[in-house]
Structures are given as structure tokens and as C-alpha cells.
């Protein structure tokens, strides 16, 4: 059968949803434990929210789903939310800016066109925003929260990589390029093409060399940053940014949190102003975040310092082990060979009693193959129930619903 599903769209089947909820539950529970509160922003936003300078790269904007609304004769386009952070920043500046510090989290879908249709064009994110706090402790807080969440999701080989947008932007600034060349370079870098630096024509050779050094080296401690700072080609403004970065790494060192400093590890950092980080599991990117102190101002609010991160649910759900096996243990397939009113009534009564006892009861009147460990067959004459354990391949006839519950709940035993 030809699929009627849109190209680049995805159905989430029961197994997928189970893993999805597992990831979401782990995230939600971590956030609540750290004092974060949930928000939800609309799917439609005005596109100018995202074009406000420095929020999304031109390449990202070239892939949004935008259109004129039914009342769009004024030419203002709306867009299917392409990003989670920017609407959260708008929500904060319009509703919560009276709060000194806001700790917010969201679980949301984001939309971006992808040419081949092989990848999802609708993706899900779990995001956290810590707004109103410029202390280095807040950078550390979001990193620690992200790491704790990754562990709670049960992900293997979790690693933290750090970079710093402030340092990169200060260095690019010192190349003293004209506006067009600077924009073209930034566009390439934001898309992850670090080779673009090699083609730059700048008289400031020392800065180019400093950039090349940064690209090649990977650090593992604050000492690495101290070494960078001591390089002769590093200017005063870049040193200031390195100091800010080192304050965070020093805190992470103190807490014994391992990390790698890799300036090439981050892409699409246009709205970041300071520390950026990425978390990987088994080498695959599962989370990224950082500090973006200009963003609230750019979407129309006051200048408010902010930092946050987002987990990429689609990538993570492919890695987590589903709880469905545990669930099958608690699932009972209730069936009846006879369809008489009395038998159906007994089946409904038994199912209600099983559910009240904390079990999952699923009907199987048509004789389908359900993936439950247990099945109970309603017997009319003489009245009773046959319980089967599909794992142990045993069965027993009992007379009452309470006996069924005792056996399935682990309090009774099944004979051969």
C-alpha cells in the first residue's frame, strides 16, 4: 500500500511512545526536583520573532515552515515553531519578566524542512531555561542538571564537551573583516564548516594563528584555558572571555565533573554569547546548550542574562531500553470463548477488579495474539476462570476474581 504519510513526518507507535514517555518522565522529574516549572508556547509564532538579529542563522531560516495566515493580508508571516528557546524567551519577556529569576522547562516539537525526507521534519525537544541569573553558578547549574537528567534517562557513556561563543566571536571580531566577509564567515562557521577560517584574508595573521591553535587543541581542565590565555597572540578582549570561561571550568573541576574543551564541537551558536556545551552518549549528540545574554533583549524584552539547554528526544528514544517488558509482566489478557451477555459481564467485572489491583487488563474477545504474560479465560459452566502464564507455560482453574488477582499479583501459585 502506498503510504499516505507526509514525507519527513513520522508515526510514533506504542513502543515508540513508551520510550518517548520514559525520556520525558525522566526529564520532567529532574526538572521538578531542581525547582523548574513547566511552560508551553504556541505552535504558531510570527516569523519576525526568529529573524530578530542573531537568533537563527540564514540557513536555518531558509528551512522554516512559514506562510501567510488566513488574516495575513498585511504580509506578516507566521511560522511553525522552528526552535524552543526563542519562544520561551518571548514568553518570559511578555509574562514573567517581573520575576528576578525564572527557572522554566518545556517539552515541545520543532519544525524544520529537511530535503531528502529521510529525516524527521518534526522533532521533539526537552528544554530548560534559567533566566535572570548571570552568575557562573547558573552555567554550572544547567550543566549539572543536564548531566543528572542524562543519567536518569539511563543513557550509556555520557560525555560533556565545552566551547565558548564569546571567545570565538571576539576572535572573529579581531580579524577586522568588512561586514559582508564577516557575515559570510560567520554563516559558514555556524553551519559547522571550521575550514572556512583557512580561506580568510585578514592582515591580522596573529589572530588567524590563534584561531588555528584553538581549532587543533582539545583541553581537559582549567589549566588548558590558562595556557591559552598565556599565548602571545591572545588579545585583552579575548583574555576577558577566557577568564569568564575559566570560572565555570574551575567550578566543574572542584565538583569532579569531567569535560573536554573543544571549540569545534558546537555549531549553530548564533544566539549564544558565552559558554556553550554539548552532551553526547556513545558519541552521538543528545543535548546542547549555553548562555545567551542578549536574547531576551532581541525578542523585545529588557536585557536579561539567560542560559539553558535542550535534549533531542528523537535521538535519545532510539537509545533507551523500553519498559514494555516490565509492563508485559503486569498485563492480563481477558478472554471468553463464549460471547453471551453473562460471560461478557463477567469479563468486564474481572477486568475492573484487575485494574483496581494495579494490573493492566486488556480484552481479547476476538482471539488475537496479545503480548501479555498472563491470560484469563472466562468459563461459563461451571463458572470460573482459567489462568495461563505464557512465560512459565502453566495454567490453573480458579473460582473467584480475588484468586486470580492473588496469583497474578504474586501471592498465589499456579499448578501445572
Amino acid at each position: 500500500m502506498e503510504s499516505q504519510r507526509c514525507k519527513g513526518a513520522r508515526d510514533l507507535l506504542p513502543d515508540d511512545m513508551e520510550r518517548f514517555r520514559q525520556v520525558e518522565d525522566a526529564f520532567r522529574s529532574s526538572c521538578l526536583n531542581w525547582g523548574y516549572r513547566e511552560i508551553r508556547t504556541p505552535t504558531l509564532e510570527y516569523i519576525h520573532l526568529f529573524t530578530a538579529a542573531g537568533t537563527l542563522t540564514p540557513a536555518m531560516l531558509g528551512r522554516v515552515y512559514s506562510f501567510l495566515d488566513w488574516d495575513g493580508w498585511g504580509g506578516e508571516r507566521v511560522v511553525l515553531r522552528p526552535d524552543g528557546t526563542i519562544p520561551a524567551a518571548r514568553l518570559y519577556s511578555e509574562n514573567l519578566s517581573g520575576q528576578k529569576v525564572a527557572r522554566l522547562y518545556y517539552i515541545t516539537n520543532v519544525f524544520a524542512f529537511e530535503e531528502t525526507g529521510a529525516e524527521n521534519r518534526e522533532k521533539w525537544q526537552c528544554g530548560v531555561e534559567l533566566l535572570g541569573d548571570c552568575e557562573r553558578t547558573s552555567d554550572t547549574e544547567v550543566i549539572m542538571l543536564a548531566l543528572e537528567t542524562a543519567r536518569a534517562m539511563g543513557l550509556p557513556r555520557v560525555e560533556l564537551k565545552l566551547s565558548h561563543a564569546g571567545i570565538l566571536k571576539a576572535l572573529i571580531g579581531e580579524l577586522k573583516l568588512d561586514a559582508d566577509a564577516r557575515e559570510a564567515l560567520l554563516d559558514e562557521i555556524l553551519e559547522g564548516n571550521w575550514q572556512a577560517f583557512t580561506g580568510v584574508k585578514s592582515r591580522n595573521r596573529a589572530v588567524l594563528e590563534a584561531i588555528s591553535t584553538l581549532m587543533k587543541l582539545k583541553g581537559k581542565s582549567s589549566g588548558f584555558l590558562a595556557n591559552l590565555k598565556a599565548l602571545p597572540s591572545i588579545s585583552k578582549s579575548v583574555k576577558k572571555e577566557i577568564d569568564a570561561f575559566a570560572e565555570v571550568t574551575a567550578l566543574l573541576d572542584t565538583m569532579g565533573t569531567g569535560y573536554a574543551i573543544d571549540f569545534t564541537s558546537i555549531r549553530g551558536f548564533e544566539y549564544y554569547t558565552g559558554l556553550c556545551f554539548k552532551i553526547t552518549s556513545g558519541g552521538a549528540r543528545i543535548c546542547s546548550g549555553g548562555r545567551y545574554d542578549n536574547l531576551i533583549g532581541l525578542v523585545g524584552g529588557r536585557d536579561i542574562p539567560a542560559c539553558g539547554f535542550a535534549f533531542y528526544i528523537d535521538a535519545i528514544t532510539a537509545m533507551v531500553k523500553p519498559l514494555s517488558l516490565q509492563k508485559a509482566e503486569k498485563t492480563v489478557s481477558v478472554k471468553s470463548g463464549q460471547k453471551s451477555a453473562a460471560s461478557v459481564k463477567s469479563a468486564f467485572q474481572l477486568a475492573a477488579a484487575l485494574r483496581a489491583a494495579g494490573l493492566i487488563a486488556e480484552f481479547d474477545f476476538s482471539g488475537g495474539q496479545l503480548k501479555a504474560r498472563w491470560s484469563v479465560d472466562i468459563q461459563a459452566k461451571p463458572a470460573g476462570f482459567i489462568i495461563k502464564d505464557t512465560h512459565k507455560k502453566t495454567q490453573k482453574k480458579v473460582n473467584s476474581a480475588s484468586e486470580v488477582i492473588d496469583i497474578i499479583g504474586g501471592f498465589g501459585k499456579l499448578g501445572k
Binding site: G75, E115, D187
Partner: protein
């Protein structure tokens, strides 16, 4: 490969301004399309020289799209339309085979010559820049590149130069060079791309078929020494775009049509006793005057008028009811309304299929779709919003609307299954062996207005006066 293994080829050729030079190029290539000349009424041609080669004449703007979707193997068009398509759909299955070196122009982002906006003003500040253009995808990409914080793009059918400075901050438009731009009273902010006539090809066709014979003919023509199609082009006179003295607050802005409707509109205004200065074919101005001091007039495309009235750039406009309805299908709560039926320019908007289709009504078409003999139904039309609503209302389950920029008759039967098209007498349709299966509505020229303008007391009086004059003129025989 031997000649007899060559694949039959379909070629899309441009109508309009590129026609004469393209015909010279085809002649040099020995393609045997003698019927392809400025006077032709035949839009479908078979090559007299190359067996299996068919050509159709389309609006040049539609050619890259038609080649990209695989309806044609090759096309000749101006490269700006190819770039416009690729800016919107980078994965389009079409690419440029060769430049032909005529019809040279640049696509400029330009503002009024009187404007003081600088590039740094554009990237900074919180102004919502208004950009009017026939190239919405190129304009949008440029706006993203320039990191404009806030902007609105108004796609238009043409006459983009008329909008700045009163109704837009910028136009993105085609001009031969900066001098030509300056003669339009505009100055460039940046040149977005260069454009010239080119041969384009479908990637899928080139990958699957053997078109080497045709390509060799193209190559040999492109390599001849004396290329008549490259002779310097005589600049065409542009419509005077000088600004008028700034209109006092409370003036009524009226939009009048250029193009085919201009003659009829001018005749109607004369009948209404309004003496126009600068609204005749030989002395056209973008901003004509009429002796009524509270009335300011601008000449733009009738297709663009409803949205321009809706967004408040104009209080009134004389356009066709077809374009008003298309606008209302797109924006059902729009503040634009019909104020007077002016009676001229009468056409019927109809649903049309090829004579060979065994169906005489839209219900019969629905039957054909249900029996999967026409799935999905492809509808070529200039009225995309009317077509969309019509097909929804008629419960056509699967359809695709193919937007076109004119010459729609030629799409049937190969490139579309149905047209939603206007017709005056039905003769053109009959000549193309097409039949009408439904009449959607009848359209005449009408005066449209913005309801919010009517709510302004000072404006209401003036608008009522004009409506009265126009109604009386329409009632005259």
C-alpha cells in the same frame, strides 16, 4: 549512440520579450520551429527538422517549474526565474546547461532615489521593512542574509518599481543596469544576482534519456561566430515613475490598472467625466493626475490591488471581481469589499478540460477520480485560491494546484488535467480543443475599497462621492 536511439524531447519556449532572440537562436540550431515567431497563435509545435522534438510556448516564469517537475526535458528562459525557483526549492530537479548571453539584466534590491535608508539602517533598528517583488524567494533569502530584524514581503505580479517610497521601502526587481534603475527613479541597495537567457534541463531527463543530438545542435549554435541574438538590445521605454508632490493627509488613494485593462479603465474614467493626465498608452505615468485635488492615483497590476487595498496602501482600486474573489478566498476576513460594479471587462471564470476527457461536469470528474482514472487531479490556474476553494467545495479528494503566470490553455492535456481560467467568448478555449464543464462566476471590473477607510469620516464623504460618480457612469450605455 546512433541517432535512431535518441529519446523524443519536449522543449519549453518562452512567450513575450525573449521570443524574437530565442527564435533566432533556435534557427541557428536548425531546430525547425518556423511557427515560433512573435505573431504566432500556435502554442504547440512539432519540429520540422528533429524527429520526436515537441515544443510548447509558456510564460517564461513557469518554464523552470515545468522543467523541474519533469513535464519538459529542456527549456529556454531567463535565469532569474531559475534562481527564484532554486532559492525556494534548492533540491529542484533542474539545472542550467548553458548561458545564451541575451536578455541581460540584474536583480536589484532598490529603494526610491529620494530615500536616505542605508544598509546599516536596514540591519539595525526595529523597523518592519516592506519589500514588494516578483521574486519573493530571492528577496527573502537576501533579507535573511542581511539579517533584517523584521520585514514583510509582498509578492506582486509586476510593476514593483511603482511601490517605493509611498507603499514600500524597497523593491526587488529586474533592471538592465543601474542606469535603467535610475531612470525608474530608484537606486540600488544591492545587486542580488545577474540574469540572462539560458538553456535549462531536467536532471532526471539527462540521467535517463539520450538527448545528445539536441545538445550538439544547441552547442553548435552557441559556438557560431556571429550571434544575431546577441546584438545590443534596444532598451524598452519604461513607464514614467516620477514622484508627485506629497499628498495631503486625508487624501484618497486610488489604484488603477496597467497592462491589458488600462485601455478599458481609461475609457470608463472618461465616461465618468474624470479627465486623466498621464493615463494613456502613449504618455503613461505611474502617478497620473486627474484634477481632483483630494484624489491621489497610482498605476499598478490589477492582480495586486486587493491585497494593497487590504493592507491600507490604497483606499480604493479598480480591478476585476476575479482578483477580489481570489484575495477573499485566501483571506476570508479581509477588510476589502466591492463598492460598485463598473460593468466593463466582462469574463466568465470557468472550469475547463480537454475535449477528449469523458466528462461534462465536475460531478463526472469526481467520478473519474473515484475510479482512480485521474489521480491526483492536476489543475493549472492563475487563480490559485479560487481553484483551491472550488475543489474543496466540490469534494475533489486528491488534487494539485499548479500556479501559472498565464498562457494556461497550453497546459492541457499533457501538463494538467483541468484549468480554472477566464474566458470572454470561449473561442481561445475552442481553438485549443478544450471544453467548459462548469462556470464558477462572472467577473466584471469593479471598484473595491477598504472598510476601515469607509469608517474614517473625512474619507467616507469623498469615497461616497466617487462611488456615486462611478455608478452613474456604469449605468450609462
Amino acid at each position: 549512440m546512433a541517432n535512431n536511439a535518441a529519446s523524443p524531447a519536449r522543449l519549453a519556449l518562452p512567450k513575450g520579450k525573449m521570443l524574437a532572440r530565442t527564435a533566432e537562436f533556435l534557427k541557428a540550431a536548425g531546430l525547425g520551429f518556423d511557427a515560433y515567431n512573435s505573431g504566432t497563435r500556435i502554442y504547440r509545435m512539432r519540429s520540422q527538422a528533429v524527429p520526436g522534438l515537441l515544443a510548447k510556448m509558456l510564460n517564461e516564469r513557469d518554464i523552470p517549474v515545468q522543467v523541474a517537475v519533469g513535464n519538459y526535458d529542456f527549456g529556454i528562459c531567463s535565469s532569474d526565474w531559475l534562481q527564484e525557483l532554486q532559492a525556494r526549492y534548492p533540491a529542484s530537479r533542474v539545472f542550467k546547461v548553458a548561458d545564451l548571453g541575451y536578455d541581460n539584466a540584474g536583480i536589484y534590491l532598490a529603494c526610491s532615489a529620494s530615500s536616505t535608508i542605508s544598509a546599516s539602517d536596514m540591519a539595525g533598528g526595529n523597523a518592519a521593512w516592506r519589500i514588494v517583488t516578483e521574486y519573493p524567494a530571492l528577496a527573502e533569502a537576501a533579507a535573511y542574509r542581511m539579517r533584517l530584524k523584521r520585514f514583510r514581503i509582498f509578492p506582486c505580479w509586476g510593476s514593483a518599481e511603482a511601490y517605493p517610497p509611498e507603499n514600500a521601502d524597497f523593491s526587488v526587481l529586474r533592471a538592465r543596469d543601474e542606469e535603467a534603475l535610475s531612470s525608474l527613479n530608484l537606486k540600488p541597495v544591492s545587486r542580488l544576482c545577474q540574469s540572462n537567457a539560458c538553456i535549462i534541463a531536467s536532471k532526471d531527463s539527462l540521467q535517463a534519456g539520450d538527448f545528445s543530438g539536441l545538445l550538439r545542435r544547441f552547442a553548435s549554435a552557441a559556438n557560431i561566430k556571429d550571434k544575431p541574438w546577441r546584438k545590443p538590445e534596444r532598451p524598452t521605454a519604461a513607464i514614467n515613475n516620477d514622484l508627485s508632490p506629497s499628498a495631503p493627509q486625508g487624501n484618497i488613494w486610488l489604484a488603477l490598472a496597467d497592462g491589458h485593462q488600462q485601455v478599458h479603465t481609461a475609457a470608463f474614467l472618461e465616461k465618468a467625466g474624470i479627465t486623466m493626465l498621464g493615463y494613456s498608452k502613449d504618455a503613461m505615468r505611474r502617478r497620473p493626475s486627474c484634477g481632483i485635488d483630494w484624489l491621489s492615483i497610482k498605476v499598478i497590476r490589477p492582480q495586486d490591488m486587493p491585497q494593497q487595498v487590504a493592507n491600507g496602501n490604497f483606499d480604493l482600486a479598480i480591478t476585476g471581481r476575479d482578483w477580489l474573489l481570489d484575495h477573499l478566498c485566501q483571506f476570508p476576513s479581509s477588510p476589502v469589499t466591492e463598492l460598485a460594479d463598473l460593468g466593463f471587462g466582462r469574463v466568465r471564470v470557468v472550469a475547463v478540460v480537454s475535449e477528449e476527457v469523458p466528462a461534462d461536469s465536475i460531478a463526472a470528474i469526481r467520478e473519474l477520480i473515484t475510479s482512480s482514472r485521474m489521480v491526483p487531479l492536476r489543475i493549472a490556474t492563475e487563480y490559485i485560491n479560487i481553484a483551491d476553494k472550488y475543489l474543496r467545495d466540490k469534494h475533489i479528494a486528491r488534487y494539485r494546484v499548479i500556479p501559472t503566470w498565464g498562457a494556461t490553455e497550453v497546459y492541457l492535456p499533457e501538463d494538467a488535467d483541468m484549468l480554472i481560467e477566464n474566458t470572454e467568448t470561449g473561442q481561445t478555449l475552442a481553438r485549443h480543443r478544450l471544453k467548459i464543464i462548469d462556470t464558477l462566476f462572472e467577473s466584471t471590473a469593479c471598484l473595491i475599497g477598504n472598510k476601515s477607510s469607509l469608517a474614517v469620516k473625512g474619507k467616507r464623504v469623498k469615497i461616497d462621492k466617487l462611488v456615486r460618480i462611478f455608478r452613474e457612469a456604469a449605468a450609462k450605455k
